[in-house]
Structure formats: structure tokens, C-alpha cells
């Protein structure tokens, strides 16, 4: 990333090769539209190139995934769907060790870990993260109380985290 900051195009290309599947994949899951996902991917990477200082520290993959989701949601919002909070792009100090654990994850391994979650936890997590719906919309469609949805999201995220830590240490 330091080399990208120094306007090194080769370093930028390496960054693109490593992360474009993540950026494109997140945008595609949110938008279900290949052309729009490519637009997001292009916007995200050109932004990184023109303003690399936006990335401060922590894990790059974790950061760029949040940017990708936020930009995809900009498009969702412009299509006039429901408003939803952005993921913090600069907020608190990362838990560096855990982020490294995640960085070593391939999409494949995370998908397996997610599949291990009970559906009633996995669904609100996936719907919430990619589906452009807020927790109260999930509650309305499932007929469950808001509090229950949030508890399931929290339990599911904790299990996912634990599952991933195991995968790494084994």
C-alpha cells in the first residue's frame, strides 16, 4: 500500500489482482447485476488509486470490503430502495490479529463456515449484509420480534468468528 501511495502502478496492479474478486463479489451479491458490479469495482479501485490516504491502517481486505459494500449500497439507494446505515470506513482501531485471520481466509473457506450456521442465524446475516434490508424489515417479513432478529445476528456472528478461528488453528 505504501508503494500505491507513491503512485506505483505495478504495486496498484498487484493490489487489484489480490482484491478485485472480493470487491466485485461483494458488489455482485448486493446488486445481482454484473455490469453494475463492474462499475462499483472500477469506482472503488480508481478511488484507491487517486486517494490512497483514505485507507489508514488495519487490514486492507476488511477495509476494501466495507468500501465495496458501501458503494454498492449507494447504487441501491439511488434506485430508491430502503436507506440503511453505512459500514464505518475509518472507525475504531482494528483487532489486528483477528483481521489477519480473516485475511488468510479464502472465500471458499468462509462460505463453508457460514454454511455451518443454523439457517435462522445465517439468513438474517446474509440478508442484512447483502440484501439491502434493515433488521426491522427482516423482522417484518419473518414475523419475528426485532429483538430476536438482533440476537440471532449476534449469536450467528459470534459462532462464525469462533468457527473461523478453529479453521485456522487446526
Amino acid at each position: 500500500m505504501d508503494r500505491v501511495r507513491a503512485r506505483d502502478a505495478d504495486a496498484f496492479e498487484a493490489l487489484y489482482d489480490q482484491y478485485h474478486r472480493l470487491v466485485y463479489g461483494v458488489a455482485f451479491r448486493v446488486l445481482s447485476d454484473a455490469a453494475a458490479a463492474e462499475d462499483v469495482t472500477q469506482a472503488v479501485f480508481l478511488r484507491i488509486w487517486s486517494a490512497p490516504e483514505l485507507f489508514r491502517d488495519g487490514n486492507f481486505g476488511a477495509w476494501v470490503a466495507r468500501i465495496a459494500r458501501n458503494r454498492a449500497y449507494d447504487i441501491v439507494r439511488s434506485r430508491n430502495l430502503h436507506p440503511q446505515s453505512e459500514l464505518p470506513e475509518t472507525l475504531p482501531v482494528e483487532d489486528a490479529v483477528d483481521e489477519t485471520v480473516i485475511a488468510n481466509m479464502s472465500g471458499e473457506r468462509v462460505r463453508l463456515a457460514l454454511e455451518q450456521l443454523p439457517p435462522e442465524q445465517r439468513e438474517p446475516i446474509e440478508l442484512g449484509f447483502f440484501g439491502g434490508v434493515t433488521h426491522d424489515q427482516i423482522a417484518r417479513t419473518t414475523g419475528l420480534p426485532l429483538g430476536t432478529i438482533k440476537t440471532r445476528i449476534r449469536t450467528g456472528l459470534r459462532r462464525l468468528r469462533a468457527a473461523l478461528q478453529e479453521t485456522v488453528t487446526v
Binding site: A9, E13, G25, M105, T134, D136, K150
Partner: protein
């Protein structure tokens, strides 16, 4: 379940980014003050990153999963290489960089060493401060700054900027309205109406000239604004 357990659940929903903006702002504020929720947030964030990674497109397009077209990379790299060639190693003073610098300067000036708030400010500024003039005014050594409890007025030459944070959304059917008092005047004159963004931050340039302003006030008024204040001002700044 205790009320705080409910908050911890909300922190999880916040980390996943599924709270409506108003509720997210509440959780963000609570996170500033609660160590337990901060710890929960730090623990859950990697799991949220993992959820994002689950969407990572397959390296092998023949596996059937989605993948970006190689043409996309060619398109992006063409632009990047063209720019890199035209600006060898010299650091570009990008608008985004100037904006970040301005926000940092404002955060320091206002004593807001609060990342979350300066991030929200950043967003407001990004929308209204597209012009370098604004950024230059805000950060210039010769600009005059007047603090009040939840904000600041910045003046430079004849330009006046009003910045407020920690604002509630106005009641339905209402807006915030700025008022200016000219030197020697007895009554406040109506200035522009505005509303804070999602983060409770407002940043506006007032249309009046800075040269003849003795005081600025802000009050809540019905939509469309009023000719004179109808509620007690929430802020008054003497210049």
C-alpha cells in the same frame, strides 16, 4: 434480558450494517462511552469481514461462479498507467486529500478528537465543500473562528460558514433556520434553512456577507422557514 444485553445485540446489528441511520447513530454514540460494547464490536467486526469474504468471486471463472471480466482490469490499468506516466512520483494534491486535511484541521480546531464525528463531518463536507475555496477558507490561518457549544462559525473575507454537530433531526415538518444580526440592528434577519445529515452534522455556507454580521443564531422553524424566530434559538454566536 437486561437492557444492556439488548444494546449488545444492537452493536452486532450495527457491526453488520443493518441498522437504519437514526438507530446506528445511537449505537455509535453509546460505543464512545461503553467499554463492553466496544469490545463486542471489535470481536464481531472480523466476522462481518468474513461475511463479505463469502462473496469473493472464484479465481477460476470456469468453476461457474461470478467473476469480473478481464476487460475491466485492462480498462482500469489503462487509466492508472496513463496517470502514473503523466505524474512521475510527484504526489498529487487530490481533492480528497485536501478534504481529509480540512477535516483533520477542523477536528483539531473544534477539539473534536473523535474519529467517528470527524468521519461524519467528512461526509457532510464532501457534499458541500466540493470547491477548494471552501477548504482553503476553513483551514486558512487568517480565517476567524467563533466557537459555540455544538459548533463553530468560520469567517474569511466576506464568506460565512456555519458548522454544527450532535444535532437532532428537526421535528417532522420543521427545519433549522439560521439568523443574522447586522451591526446596530435590533432584530435578527432570516437567513437560510437547513437540516443536519445522518450523522447529526450540518455544514452550510450562509448567503450573507461576513462584513456586517454582529451575531448569528439558529432556531427550529416550520418548513420553509420564518420571517422572525418563533422558537428560542438553540445557538447564539456573537461575532
Amino acid at each position: 434480558m437486561t437492557p444492556h444485553d439488548e444494546l449488545l445485540d444492537s452493536v452486532a446489528a450495527y457491526a453488520l450494517g443493518v441498522l437504519p441511520p437514526s438507530e446506528a447513530a445511537g449505537v455509535e454514540a453509546h460505543l464512545q462511552t461503553c467499554a463492553q460494547c466496544q469490545a463486542e464490536y471489535r470481536e464481531l467486526r472480523p466476522a462481518v469481514t468474513a461475511v463479505a469474504y463469502s462473496a469473493e468471486a472464484c479465481a477460476d471463472p470456469t468453476a461457474g461462479a461470478v467473476a469480473a471480466s478481464p476487460l475491466l482490469k485492462a480498462r482500469i490499468m489503462r487509466r492508472v498507467r496513463a496517470e502514473a506516466a503523466s505524474r512521475p512520483s510527484s504526489r498529487r494534491y487530490s481533492p480528497a486529500y485536501a478534504l481529509a486535511a480540512a477535516c483533520l484541521a477542523i477536528a483539531i480546531i473544534t477539539g473534536l478528537m473523535d474519529l467517528s464525528l470527524s468521519r461524519r463531518l467528512n461526509r457532510e463536507l464532501a457534499q458541500s465543500a466540493a470547491q477548494t475555496q471552501t477548504i482553503a477558507d476553513l483551514t486558512a490561518a487568517d480565517s476567524r473562528r467563533y466557537h459555540f457549544s455544538d459548533g463553530m462559525v468560520v469567517m474569511r473575507a466576506d464568506r460565512v460558514y456555519l458548522m454544527m454537530h450532535d444535532m437532532h433531526a428537526p421535528p417532522p415538518g420543521h427545519v433549522y433556520q439560521a439568523w443574522t444580526l447586522a451591526h446596530g440592528a435590533k432584530r435578527m434577519a432570516p437567513s437560510m434553512t437547513f437540516a443536519p445529515g445522518n450523522g447529526g452534522v450540518a455544514f452550510v455556507r450562509l448567503p450573507e456577507s461576513a462584513t456586517n454580521i454582529a451575531a448569528i443564531a439558529v432556531s427550529v422553524e416550520p418548513d420553509g422557514g420564518s420571517l422572525q424566530p418563533t422558537t428560542k434559538p438553540i445557538a447564539v454566536v456573537r461575532i
